[in-house]
Amino acid sequence: MTMNREQVLGQVQGVLVDALGVDDDEVKPESTLMGDLGAESIDFLDIVFRLEKAFGIKIPREELFPAETLMNNPEFVNNGKLTEKGLAELQSKMPHTDTTEFAKNPDMSKLGDLFTVGMIVNFVQSKLKAA
């Protein structure tokens, strides 16, 4: 399936509008899923299912939202911040995300800010290329 970024963004926006009950104009590339759009744990699963259906791809949840395994591992998180190991793990799990800003102060409570609409578009595009 060849889709350009605009088309992928359009479909992703549709998925997020349906899954989160937000308006079209609230879903901008820089919008954060949790902070701006109110997504929670169950919504992440809903979003994964809908993306799989919309794009015909398979998405192991850990690939798109790796936070859980990171959070529960003491090698990766110390005092609410990601350790060197943790950061490396995050970057390897999320190659489709620019983590440089986050890396400056890898506070776990700010991890959610990485999950933006744009990040999902990057992820879907990389999956479509690999398919």
Binding site: D18, A19, S41, I42, D43, L45, D46, V48, F49, E52, K53, R61, E68, M71, N72
Partner: protein, 159 residues
Amino acid sequence: MRWIWIDKFIEFKTGVSAVAVKNVTLAEEHLHDHFPGYPVMPESLCIEAMAQTAGILVGEAKNFEEKVILAKIKKAVFHDCIRPGDSLRLSAKIESIADEAASTTGTITCGDKLIAEIDLMFSHIDQNLAGKEFPEDNFVFTDMFKSLLQGSVLKAGNG
């Protein structure tokens, strides 16, 4: 009262789809409150009937090893009322299923009338709520629910 909102399964295809029926009767106490003078089945209980139909379908797909709990009502749209004497047909399909969750679509019909469209998401809580402790036994799928699948229903669907 018993918290069971379906009466029997008439079709069951493991991991795919199921159809249950529910008869609405004036013997159901709650109808006399909703509303006094003109009983209609509350829409929230229609959603529960679908949740039980779809929840058992999802649970059975994993051999009732998971505690399947309703986590999100994606959409529930009602087109008509349900009255005592009506016989409902609840049809559910598994849309997606993973280790931690499942999503289902479904319709409720009465004769040839479409009553409702209900899409749900279930969570397998042992796989999800990290840190929260639950009793070990699967309290979700009691004998009352499992008994709905006794007999020939399953075999007929998978034969």
